[in-house]
Amino acid sequence: MDSFKALFVDDEVEFLDTLVKRMKRRNIQATGVGSAEEALSFIETNPVDVVVLDVKMPGMDGIEALREIKRRHPLTEVIMLTGHANVEVAIQGMELGAFDYLMKPMDIDELIYKLQDAYKKKYVHEDKIRRMTRGDK
């Protein structure tokens, strides 16, 4: 479980590029896309473990994307990035099944911890399902 796939969704390309570079440096298979729509189509073809989602984006916003991702890929964990301490959005996101939320600009280490926690949760979850299905056979 040392390396996992993460998808970063943000409309700020400069921010996204640097973030992806830094993640890759930390041995995370990171990819960046510029919109929620792109993210959804990307996940269809390349399943990922954790999605880091900016809440405020043109077009489909983070909350909608979260709802969609959770509907299509219930096991994929989502971490929300918010522009500011917006309680309602945070609470709404948590209610919709987001793993956690972080405020921009965030500390890289904090983000790494959250990513690892989210992946761990997903891994444990998947492991459980795998064992259950194997047991059935």
């Binding site: 700020e12 640097t18 830094r22 522009g83 500011h84």
Partner: protein, 574 residues
């Protein structure tokens, strides 16, 4: 501000004055009109009554006097017709006749005399020695000779005493002779003297020349005033038996007089009384009315004054409250526009800052590479990047606070449970509390009714208070207790910490916008003013109690009446 206060003072004074004047005018005008009307009517009818009374009085006495004179004349004529000139010329017989008359009528007849055609008194009976007196030149004699009966004016005559004469003319053998009698002045005087009303009412008789025929009760000057005119006019027009008028006496005293002609216009019976005396009853009631009116006036003015002052006081208070409210609204509006501006800037700054911080982080990452490991300035690079990260965080703090201040909190009113809302917000802060080594205790009443208000707003308030408490206890840790309960219809939510407390000097300002004690860049000074604004908007109040070294307690008080869920049909809403 002071100037406008002074203007306001003038305004309220004018308002008071106008109200006093209006109330007084509206109350007094009908009072005075009605009283005046009634008084006028009363005065008119009273005057009519007095006049009628006096007229009757004078008429009666005029009749009495006329009758008296006619009877005396008739008595004498009877005497002259019954007996002959010869018989009466006998003085002892005449003496007997006088005694008979005096027996019958009292001392009205003073004496009797028989005068022949030449004016010589041939016989006389009476107390004076007037036998053989010659009257040929006397006025009464000449006039008596012309008519067959005559009553003279009062005169002194030969005897030197006031008296008047009743004379009848008869013929004896072709020659006229006269029987005359003297009427006692005192007896005649009695007829008018007892006409006395009030203190100043009295009667007297005047002759054609304005000379007194009776002794007046008071010294008056009959030659002046209207009596002579009355005498003259009455002479020609005798159809007006009684006339009433007013005259001003010498000392400016107003008198009422009632006059009636006597003796076919020769004499005038006059009754005179001071107006003030005649109308004393009226004047008494006038005085009473005036006192009542005056008291009423004082009462009205006092009431109007007190009432107006109290009302204007209320108005002034309402105005002040309105003014304060306006100021608050303006303040709120100002804050809102400041907030909107700040939000715009914060949003724009946030993203570039995020990129800068990321880029700095990326450089830091790259510095880990072997190529740079031995670089001479590696330490400086590290320090500079660290600084960039620190300042980036600082920017973040500021923009986050500004955004949360400016952000339109969800104002949708919804029904929810207070304890659940508090638990939710505490859960959000639980992670931070753990890092700050703060234990959170909840003491929530589950019996609170459901409330209807914006949940987001209430949570915003609580989040700000909790964040402040956690900030305060960041260094040494502590405990945070959040409790909710109902007290006399008021919802109380307390957020109490045992942090370092707020110095008394700052307590009064903590709700002011942009007031902060946090180091520069750490706080915006908006958190508590947001709380204050929200709680006030909900109709509640927020209080703070703090002791340095012991802790701080924020207490939110909102009357449940204002926020209680209306349709509690399904009980307390499980």
């Amino acid at each position: 501000m002071r100037g406008s206060l002074k203007e306001l003072g003038v305004y309220y004074r004018n308002l008071t004055r106008n109200m006093v004047l209006l109330i007084t005018f509206v109350s007094i005008t009908p009072m005075i009109l009605v009283s005046g009307l009634i008084l006028f009517q009363f005065h008119t009818s009273f005057q009519e009554k007095v006049h009628a009374h006096l007229t009757t009085l004078v008429k009666k006495h005029k009749q009495n006097i006329d009758t008296f004179l006619k009877e005396r004349l008739a008595d004498i004529r009877q005497l002259a017709r019954t007996f002959t000139f010869e018989e009466l010329s006998n003085e002892s017989f005449l003496q007997d006749r006088l005694a008979t008359l005096q027996d019958e009528f009292g001392p009205v007849f003073v004496d009797l005399g028989v005068v022949n055609a030449r004016g010589l008194q041939v016989a006389y009976a009476g107390p004076f020695k007037l036998g053989m007196a010659l009257y040929s030149t006397a006025d009464w004699f000449q006039r008596a000779m012309k008519s067959n009966a005559f009553i003279s004016d009062v005169f002194l005559g030969l005897r030197g005493l006031p008296h008047f004469i009743v004379a009848v003319r008869e013929n004896w053998r072709g020659d006229p002779w006269i029987l005359r009698a003297t009427i006692d002045f005192v007896a005649f005087n009695n007829l008018v003297e007892h006409i006395r009303i009030g203190e100043t009412g009295f009667a007297f008789i005047l002759n054609r020349n304005g000379e007194f025929q009776t002794k007046p009760f008071q010294e008056i000057v009959p030659g002046k005033g209207p009596y002579l005119e009355l005498l003259r006019s009455d002479n020609s027009a005798g159809e007006r038996p009684v006339s009433i008028g007013r005259m001003t006496g010498e000392a400016g005293v107003k008198n009422i007089f009632v006059a009636s002609p006597l003796k076919e216009g020769d004499w005038l019976l006059v009754y005179q009384q001071k107006v003030s005396d005649a109308f004393s009853d009226f004047e008494r009631s006038l005085r009473v009315t005036m006192v009542v009116l005056l008291l009423g006036l004082i009462a009205i003015v006092t009431t109007a004054f007190l009432l107006s002052r109290r009302m204007v006081g209320r108005i002034a208070k309402a105005d002040r409250e309105k003014h304060m409210m306006n100021e608050q609204v303006v303040e709120t509006g100002k804050l809102a526009s400041v907030g909107e501006l700040a939000a715009g800037i914060a949003h724009e700054i946030n993203n570039p800052v995020a990129i800068m911080v990321e880029e700095a982080g990326w450089i830091e990452d790259l510095l880990e590479e072997e190529d740079f490991k031995d670089g001479a300035n590696l330490k400086e690079f590290r320090r500079a990047l660290n600084q960039i990260r620190t300042q980036g965080k600082r920017c973040k703090e500021i923009t986050h606070k500004l955004l949360s201040f400016a952000r339109k909190t969800d104002e949708r009113v919804q029904e929810f449970r207070i304890d659940e809302a508090i638990q939710e917000i505490v859960a959000l802060s639980a992670q931070r509390a753990k890092y700050s080594n703060v234990t959170v205790k909840l003491n929530l009443s589950e019996d609170l009714p459901n409330v209807r208000l914006s949940q987001a707003e209430l949570q915003q308030v609580l989040l700000n208070l909790i964040n402040n408490a956690l900030d305060a206890m960041e260094k040494q840790g502590g405990s945070l207790e959040i409790s909710s309960r109902e007290e006399e219809g008021i919802l109380m939510i307390e957020v109490a910490d045992n942090g370092p407390g707020i110095p008394a000097a700052n307590l009064g300002r903590i709700f002011d916008p942009f007031f902060t004690t946090k180091p520069v860049g750490k706080g915006t000074g908006l958190g508590l003013s947001i709380c204050y604004g929200i709680v006030k908007k909900l109709g509640g109040d927020i209080e703070v109690a703090s002791t340095v070294g012991v802790g701080t307690t924020f207490r939110i008080k909102i009357p449940l009446e204002m926020i209680k869920a209306q349709g509690s049909l399904n009980g307390k809403g499980e």
